[in-house]
């Protein structure tokens, strides 16, 4: 039954089709793309398509001085930049044999935990927005802004602080800073019950997030999942406790775990970590009131600062998971090779691809956000 000019082609029937989440899509975190092959509303296969944010960081860092790179590293992960500075600085300190003064160590813990708070508040908003709860997004972002103000007070910048330098921190706390930070912390703690009402105990959200993107512990370990995502599967693994750096051994905090391993569990772990961060921050503030001292060790002329040949591997528990730098120095003024082990790559590529198979269109964005991956850090 064909017209004369009918040409047979091999286009398959449209039992499956493709849908593009990103890069220009609100259901995607940053400039990142997911190509989903779907049948009906079920994902048959998902392909993560990164590289949109690739700037060649590791190559750029080889071309810059050790101290110049301080300006570059926070830009690797935009929502949570401080762990980048800390990890890089610690690697340089290990290589260069620098001793960080005690007050500087406490100050670094302060900004690290503040950054974790901002990242988690941002996450609450982001996760809520993927399921249509925009109010929570507005609340989360505006509460985060209070912490950004504290950052500005301390470092002079809202987002990219470049506060941590090899050998210490850039400047000391301005007068009254600790009090105003305490106030903000009280405010954030006071907001948590409201977030509970709106978000964590919301029946619709529980319905949406429970059982979505579930992974078990063995899967998480196989796929290199770290941080809150790993802890949501029940494994109490936290670098701050297990391999303490800075002064984490001297503060009290709990490692939050959940067992379900689904999107809701991941969200709950982050909620718990907000409380723990507040706890740590209060202890740090108390310490800062009493610990005197210099805030950085003396550095040689930065422009001619040569670091002895060798290599260093340092790691930090960032809000996304385990962040590590491997730096090789050949004894020159610039790094010979830098490798960033970002947590997000494991989350946003292989884990996401695996978790989304069999999920629905409705849940792809939610799974992505619940893993809290950071695309610029994936692409670097």
């Amino acid at each position: 039954m064909h017209p004369d000019h009918y040409r047979h082609t091999e286009l398959p029937p449209s039992t499956e089709y493709e849908l593009y989440f990103g890069p220009n899509h609100p259901g995607i975190e940053g400039n990142y793309a997911l190509k989903a092959r779907l049948a009906g509303d079920t994902v048959v296969a998902l392909e993560a398509d990164g590289g949109y944010l690739h700037r060649g960081f590791e190559k750029l860092m080889e071309q810059r001085l050790w101290i110049q790179n301080i300006a570059l590293v926070p830009r690797i992960c935009v929502p949570d930049p401080v762990p980048m500075e800390e990890t890089y600085a610690r690697a340089v300190e290990t290589l260069g044999g620098l001793e960080v003064p005690e007050r500087a160590q406490w100050l670094r813990m302060l900004v690290l935990e503040m950054s974790r708070l901002t990242a988690h508040l941002f996450y609450f908003g982001g996760h809520a927005a993927t399921v249509g709860l925009y109010t929570n997004m507005f609340w989360g972002v505006s509460d985060r802004d209070r912490l950004l103000d504290c950052f500005e007070q301390l470092t002079g910048a809202r987002v990219y602080h470049m506060y941590i330098t090899p050998g210490g921190v850039r400047r000391d706390t301005p007068p009254g800073f600790l009090d105003s930070l305490s106030e903000v912390l009280d405010y954030v703690e006071g907001r948590l019950p409201k977030f509970d009402d709106l978000f964590f105990d919301n029946a619709v959200l529980v319905r949406r997030a429970t059982g979505t993107g579930t992974m078990d512990q063995a899967f998480a370990i196989d796929y290199g999942v770290t941080g809150p995502n790993l802890r949501a599967t029940g494994l109490a693994h936290d670098l701050r406790r297990d391999y303490p750096y800075l002064k984490y051994a001297e503060v009290e905090f709990d490692v939050i775990t959940e067992t379900a391993g689904d999107a809701y569990a991941r969200t709950l772990v982050r909620r718990g970590e907000v409380i723990e961060s507040l706890r740590i921050l209060r202890q740090v503030i108390d310490k800062l009131r009493s610990v005197p001292g210099p805030i950085r060790c003396p550095l040689p002329n930065p422009l001619a600062w040569r670091i002895p040949a060798g290599d260093a591997y340092t790691r930090t528990e960032s809000s996304k998971g385990e962040l590590a730098y491997y730096i090789v120095s050949d004894g020159s003024a610039k790094p010979w090779r830098v490798h960033v082990r970002g947590p997000s790559q494991m989350h946003a590529v292989q884990t996401l691809e695996a978790l989304c198979v069999g999920a629905r269109i409705e849940d792809v964005a939610q799974i992505m956000f619940s893993l809290d991956a950071c695309p610029p850090e994936v692409d670097r």
């Binding site: 082609t9 091999e10 286009l11 890069p23 220009n24 899509h25 609100p26 940053g30 400039n31 590289g51 949109y52 944010l53 690739h54 700037r55 060649g56 190559k59 750029l60 071309q63 300006a71 570059l72 830009r75 935009v78 929502p79 941002f122 908003g125 997004m137 507005f138 609340w139 972002v141 505006s142 985060r144 802004d145 950004l148 809202r158 987002v159 990219y160 610029p376 692409d379």
Partner: protein, 241 residues
């Protein structure tokens, strides 16, 4: 016959009648429209680079851009304002060009941060684009890395003023000088580069033809255009046997 227009014949030179030439009624309507456009900017929700991190604070409760009528939109079709929030990698630039072409005029482009102006922090990166206005007509730049919400707001207000007074006409340049922009794009992506959007057809349809709409670069489209098969040799719509 395909049901979309084919532009094989030489272009007639068209131009939009100047504002003075139109009737009073037309000018009044245009004036009201400009005012509305300025007060109702739909922003494309596309986080091209790290500058996007300061957009949520600008948009949400603290600075609340809805006060001045701005709201985020999702697809290029719906949006008026394309925010290039930070550096563009070459891979992103392709998508941005497509996104820009899919937006409907009047459309505005705003470059965020130093990296859209001169490469900024990534001036020596092999992967990023250094100057945005080589590839797209830009209406407003915000310097800084990263620009603060206050700076962003200031820029938006200036852009609004520019729109309100009818001076934000850069989007027409893209049609009038399409050959130039396409040439820059081809220099970066290779001479086979083209988007599914029919810019030349639109220029003809809306009388936005300029002296540089067609030229040596658009001539290459005739060879490679996959989407307007009447024009070129390659027929993308035909599937391999």
């Amino acid at each position: 016959m395909p049901d979309y227009p084919i532009y094989r014949d030489p272009p007639e030179q068209c131009r939009t009648p100047d504002a003075e030439e139109r009737s009073l009624w037309g000018r009044t309507l245009e004036r009201i429209a400009d005012h509305c456009r300025a007060r109702s900017l739909f922003v494309l929700h596309y986080c091209t680079g790290c500058g996007a991190i300061e957009l949520p604070p600008s948009m949400t409760s603290r600075f609340d851009l809805e006060r001045v009528g701005m709201q985020p939109m999702v697809t290029p079709r719906q949006a008026d304002l394309l925010l290039i929030t930070g550096y563009l990698s070459v891979k992103t630039l392709k998508r941005v060009i497509l996104t820009y072409e899919q937006m409907q005029g009047p459309k505005y482009v705003m470059g965020f941060g130093s990296c859209t102006i001169n490469g900024g922090m990534y001036w020596n990166s092999y992967a990023t684009v250094k100057r945005l206005d080589q590839y797209l007509p830009v209406d407003m730049y915000i310097a800084g890395c990263m620009p603060r919400p206050e700076a962003i707001q200031q820029a938006f207000l200036q852009l609004m003023e520019k729109i309100d007074s009818g001076r934000a006409q850069n989007w027409k340049e893209y049609y009038r000088r399409y050959d130039h922009y396409l040439g820059e794009q081809q220099a970066l992506f290779g001479e086979q580069f083209h988007t599914p959007t029919d810019v030349i057809g639109e220029a003809r349809h809306y009388s936005l033809f300029g002296p540089e709409t067609l030229g040596e670069h658009t001539a290459k489209l005739a060879k490679y255009d996959l989407y307007h098969p009447g024009q070129g040799a390659v027929d993308a719509l035909e599937v391999k046997r």
